[in-house]
């Protein structure tokens, strides 16, 4: 079974009909969420402030008899997996950039066109103000960022032109990474067959 996204389905969902027939009368209705997913009672619920609300709801449902909340394991009800976080963004252009120099309040970047790979590389000077504040501390030589330009339609229907830069986040070098690097370098040195700082086999003759 391929690892695929969950997609909510119900019998009332829209369906294609034959050409010429009217569309399903229910096709304009939003389908129901998929059935709730109920997890088994958990020993420990690393929840948030809603914890008390959950236990209260559980206690109220047990045949109307209240039970001490602390004796009831929390029951977690999850809503259906229908995502409602679509961002309506018409992406016109995107680049991957690399910072090549920083000077004052601007930086120079090499931009690779991610839409049309055959387009030439571009060099751009960009003010640091265009970088989101949380990302500015990451800006250094060699930093990679993504730049997207397009039109966004907000939930209320408003259309706005958007230019967004996001710095790629990378983890840090670990001690293990450094040790592995040095081990590999040692292998290379051994393969070279002589001390890396040793002499060439060819004896140099003075230039004229």
């Amino acid at each position: 079974m391929p690892a695929s996204l969950l997609v909510g389905e119900t019998l009332d969902a829209p369906r294609f009909v034959s050409v010429g027939e009217a569309a399903s009368p229910q096709s304009n209705q939003k389908p129901f969420d998929e059935p709730d997913c109920i997890l088994p009672a958990l020993d420990r619920y690393d929840g948030d402030a809603n914890d008390s609300q959950v236990t209260r709801r559980v206690s109220e449902t047990t045949n109307g008899q209240s039970r001490p909340a602390h004796k009831i394991s929390p029951l977690i009800r999850l809503r259906g997996a229908r995502p409602c976080r679509y961002r309506q963004f018409c992406l016109l252009q995107s680049w991957e950039g690399t910072v090549t120099s920083k000077q004052g309040d601007t930086f120079l970047a090499r931009l690779v066109d991610l839409h049309v790979r055959t387009n030439p590389i571009e060099i751009a000077e960009i003010p640091i103000d265009e970088i989101p504040v949380p990302d500015r501390c990451l800006l250094a030589l060699g930093t990679v960022f993504y730049w997207s330009i397009g039109y966004e339609t907000k939930p209320g229907g408003q259309l706005t032109r958007a230019s967004e830069i996001r710095v790629r986040r990378s983890p840090v070098w670990s001690h293990r990474d450094i040790d592995e690097m040095k081990a590999r370098a040692k292998e290379l040195e051994a393969w070279l067959g002589y001390d890396v700082h040793g002499d060439n086999e060819e004896s140099p003759a003075p230039a004229q």
Partner: protein
């Protein structure tokens, strides 16, 4: 002086020297025929489709067998604009020897090369990954047991000599530059808890390999990216401290940048009104050669040629996007992808003027 496609594909005679210079907006490559149908490639840059080295494209056009006729491949330094596609050349040139700067002959550089596996998603912009690939190919060559580069080039070292009396000499890096290079490479090494980033361009120009090709009748100076340093034991000053043959043609160092140029080079290392060949570098804050660079160089010679001119071009138009880009950026320019080609040829067995041919948009400035 511009030439046609039919003349471009005419190979040199066996007793004719050729120096071909390629360079799009970023990158540089020299393809050298020192005679006897043997070839040497110095540095590498990619062709227009960015699929393989332009040197291999050119040699194929001439009908040269890369696997048997390339004698040497040399990387003057490890900046990515000088070795893009080098691994592809090494892979094809199975009988070639490989040389690089002696400044790389250190554990610290091997440490850097060994990092590549850890730096996933690093693309294109670091010569480290290209070098790592080169070493991997050399390691797997069965007839090269336990061999790394065949030569670690430094000052006053002869790389090649043939029966026509042609010699290729390395004039740099100096011993002091090699020592300085160790510290600079070490500073690039990652430290624990540092964020993983693409390697910045290291100031490796001091360690780059300047070459001089001597034929019985004339010489040709290839300046790589060597710069003028305050320390007289490094850079061009170290070369100028010794007597040298004067050259009839000069591949101008570091794309004509003023930090790689001084009057002494023109007075003491090249003939009056020498042929000066340039490649642009358009990725810096100031594209090179700038108009000021060109004016300065033209005071030294009337025969100045550039593989691509102007060095940058306008970005392609993108509907609905240009306006936003221009609002966000203070400056924007596009890099040429197609390289021009300057070809220098001269007979080996008698003295005559060198012949200059320009292809694919190369220009006399």
């Amino acid at each position: 002086m511009t030439s046609t496609a039919t003349t471009k594909s005419r190979p040199p005679r066996h007793n004719e020297i050729e120096i071909s210079l390629f360079g799009p907006g970023i990158g540089e490559c020299l393809v050298i025929h020192p005679g006897l149908n043997r070839w040497m490639i110095v540095d590498s840059c990619l062709n227009e489709s960015r699929q393989r080295s332009i040197a291999l494209d050119y040699l194929e056009e001439l009908g040269v067998d890369a696997s048997s006729q390339i004698e040497w491949v040399l990387a003057t330094h490890w900046h990515d604009d000088h070795i893009a596609g080098l691994a592809g050349i090494i892979n094809r040139a199975t009988s070639a020897k490989f040389a690089c700067s002696a400044a790389l002959r250190c554990r610290e550089f091997l440490d850097l090369v060994s990092i590549h596996d850890k730096m996933l998603l690093v693309e294109d912009t670091s010569g480290i990954s290209e070098f790592e690939e080169v070493i991997r190919i050399l390691q797997h060559r069965t007839h090269r047991h336990g061999k790394g580069p065949d030569l670690w080039a430094n000052a006053n070292m002869r790389i090649l000599q043939n029966s026509f009396g042609v010699e290729v000499w390395a004039l740099s890096p100096s011993a002091q530059s090699v020592t300085n290079g160790l510290g600079e490479i070490a500073r690039l090494l990652p430290k624990p808890r540092e964020i993983i980033r693409r390697f910045p361009v290291m100031d490796a120009n001091d360690q780059s390999v300047v070459l001089r090709i001597d034929s019985p009748s004339q010489s040709f100076l290839l300046g790589a990216d060597l710069e003028i340093q305050a320390d007289t034991r490094c850079g061009w000053r170290a070369i100028l401290a010794e007597p040298h043959r004067v050259s009839a043609a000069y591949k101008v160092a570091h794309h004509g940048s003023p930090n790689a140029d001084c009057q002494e080079i023109w007075d003491r290392l090249v003939v009056r009104d020498a042929c000066a060949l340039l490649t642009p570098f358009a990725a810096g804050r100031v594209p090179r050669p700038s108009d000021e660079d060109v004016a300065r160089l033209k005071r030294c010679t009337n025969r100045l040629y550039c593989t691509v001119w102007p060095s940058t071009k306008k970005p392609p138009r993108r509907q609905g996007v240009d306006k936003t880009m221009n609002e966000v950026t203070k400056m924007r320019r596009a890099i040429h992808t197609k390289s021009g080609h300057i070809r220098v040829r001269a007979p080996l067995d008698y003295s005559s003027d060198i012949q200059i041919e320009l292809f694919d948009g190369a220009k006399q400035l």
